[in-house]
């Protein structure tokens, strides 16, 4: 009974977050195939996490690699920057995309990866908007309540890619977008780039 309410919140968050990007002949993404794609990624990720021969750092680096292959980071980055993308110079765009990818991969590899005894279950899959599929999953962890996550997935010529993750009803890209908008309005695109640089510079836990 992982709540209907949670799933509803996920769906609503998704709909609010990513308006249909204006591509013409939009093909609908098959929810079943999107679920299979996600299942495959999850299997790969869980295998990495179970490998206790590797250090936590190594496991997370591998999770980041899997994510890099399966997320459409350039598209997410552009969307999250909003209107400011159009005004940004090519150099600003390149630097922003590089830092944004690093920031997303680090943040989400930490939030989703690393856990021992993680389990992954697909609850349901359905269409979202005109083109995408939404796959709802339950991620179980030892010693804590399961995490319900929704994945917005789009099929295309290069295969399936994840466009958004919705955790506890909160869309990753909608949250980032509003946060970045506030930063850009105060400090400009260069200020946002600098803030991203600072963010990836925190120290991890100490060994002693």
């Amino acid at each position: 009974m992982i709540g209907r309410r949670c799933l509803l919140a996920i769906t609503l968050a998704c709909l609010a977050a990513l308006p249909a990007t204006g591509a013409g002949a939009a093909e609908r993404t098959s929810p079943q195939q999107a679920a299979q794609f996600l299942e495959k990624m999850a299997t790969e990720t869980l295998a990495v996490l179970r490998d206790q021969g590797a250090t936590l750092d190594q496991r997370e680096a591998k999770v980041r690699q899997v994510m890099r292959e399966n997320f459409d980071l350039p598209k997410i980055g552009r969307f999250v920057l909003g209107k400011a993308w159009r005004k940004a110079t090519p150099e600003q765009r390149a630097e922003y995309q590089r830092l944004f990818s690093e920031f997303v991969l680090r943040t989400y590899a930490k939030r989703l990866g690393g856990y021992a005894g993680e389990t992954f279950k697909i609850i349901k899959a359905g269409p979202l908007g005109k083109r995408d599929a939404l796959v709802s999953t339950e991620i179980g962890r030892s010693g804590g309540p399961p995490l319900v996550a929704g994945w917005r997935i789009r099929g295309g010529p290069k295969g399936y890619k994840i466009l958004d993750v919705i955790i506890a009803g909160i869309s990753m890209i909608a949250t980032q977008r509003s946060e970045f908008r506030a930063l850009v309005s105060r400090q400009g695109v260069d200020g946002l780039i600098e803030a991203l640089r600072l963010r990836v510079g925190k120290f991890p836990v100490k060994a002693s």
Binding site: Q52, K110, Y115, G143, D190, L198, R199, K202, K206, S208
Partner: protein
């Protein structure tokens, strides 16, 4: 036994007891801390939290710092930046430099939409004064952009120079730019090239691109097009967007023998050990 003597004896016993307890406490605390670290490495985050929490409550700055990281990253607990800030504030107040640094960055990030640049600068200065290279560099960037402080290019230069001298590649690259553009200090082509090269040797792609351009033109250093091409090749291999075009342009000017030589140099190149990152 007189009353006073009894009191004295009792006092000694208490002191001895306390001494024994304190003596015992230290190794136990160490064992608990290490148990937490091992649990964390296994991915047993609730176990790590269980080990560290009592230590943190008893005032152990390392445990406070680590719990702050767990809240900041949402590991074993729901992500909660306000909690992270609280734990790091405790450890930072005890002088833990890494906690001061992370706290400053968390304050820049803010909880939700509110940032506190003033407090961020306060803690960055503390950590930078303790010699933490990343904090010195970040503080320099705060001054160069005027985040939480009035923009001050000369102070930006001084902090970035400190971090660069300790070998931090990003600071070295930035110092190269500062000397090239004369921001907060007189421009100095030689110093600029020297610092770009220092960062380039550590594998910094942007610095390799700059070093390549400057060697190709002979700016701030004797012209050496083959070495210039080597740096541009190395930057290109790291997919630096600007280096790709710069490399093609330079390669067209050189003989096939020179190009082959640059390629060989690039193949044989290995990064110098990095510092402070």
């Amino acid at each position: 036994m007189s009353v006073t003597r009894a009191v004295k004896a009792a006092g000694v016993a208490v002191l001895l007891g306390a001494g024994i307890l304190m003596g015992l406490y230290a190794p136990t605390a160490r064992a608990d801390f290490e148990a937490g670290w091992r649990a964390y490495q296994r991915g047993d985050f609730p176990g790590a939290l269980e080990a560290w929490r009592p230590l943190a409550d008893a005032g152990d700055a390392r445990a406070q710092f680590n719990i702050g990281v767990m809240y900041d990253e949402g590991r074993g607990v729901a992500l909660d930046r306000a909690q992270a800030i609280q734990w790091w504030t405790k450890a930072a107040g005890q002088g833990d430099a890494e906690a001061q640094h992370n706290l400053a960055l968390a304050l820049i990030e803010g909880t939700g939409l509110s940032q506190d640049y003033d407090r961020a600068v306060f803690w960055l200065e503390k950590a930078a004064d303790q010699g933490l290279v990343r904090s010195q560099y970040s503080l320099g960037k705060m001054f160069s952009y005027g985040f939480g402080v009035p923009k001050d290019l000369n102070r930006a230069f001084r902090w970035i120079e400190k971090a660069a001298k300790k070998g931090f590649d990003k600071a070295q690259y930035n110092l190269g730019k500062i000397y090239r553009d004369g921001q907060g200090v007189d421009d100095d082509a030689e110093a600029s090239t020297r610092w770009f090269l220092a960062a380039a040797r550590q594998g910094n792609a942007k610095a390799q691109n700059q070093a390549g351009i400057r060697l190709a033109r002979g700016t701030g250093i004797a012209k050496d097009e083959v070495r210039g091409l080597m740096w541009l090749t190395l930057a290109t291999r790291q997919t630096h967007p600007g280096a790709i075009g710069n490399r093609k342009k330079l390669a067209r000017k050189l003989s096939s023998e020179q190009r082959a030589q640059a390629e060989r140099l690039a193949d044989a190149w290995a990064p110098a050990p990095s510092h402070g990152g």
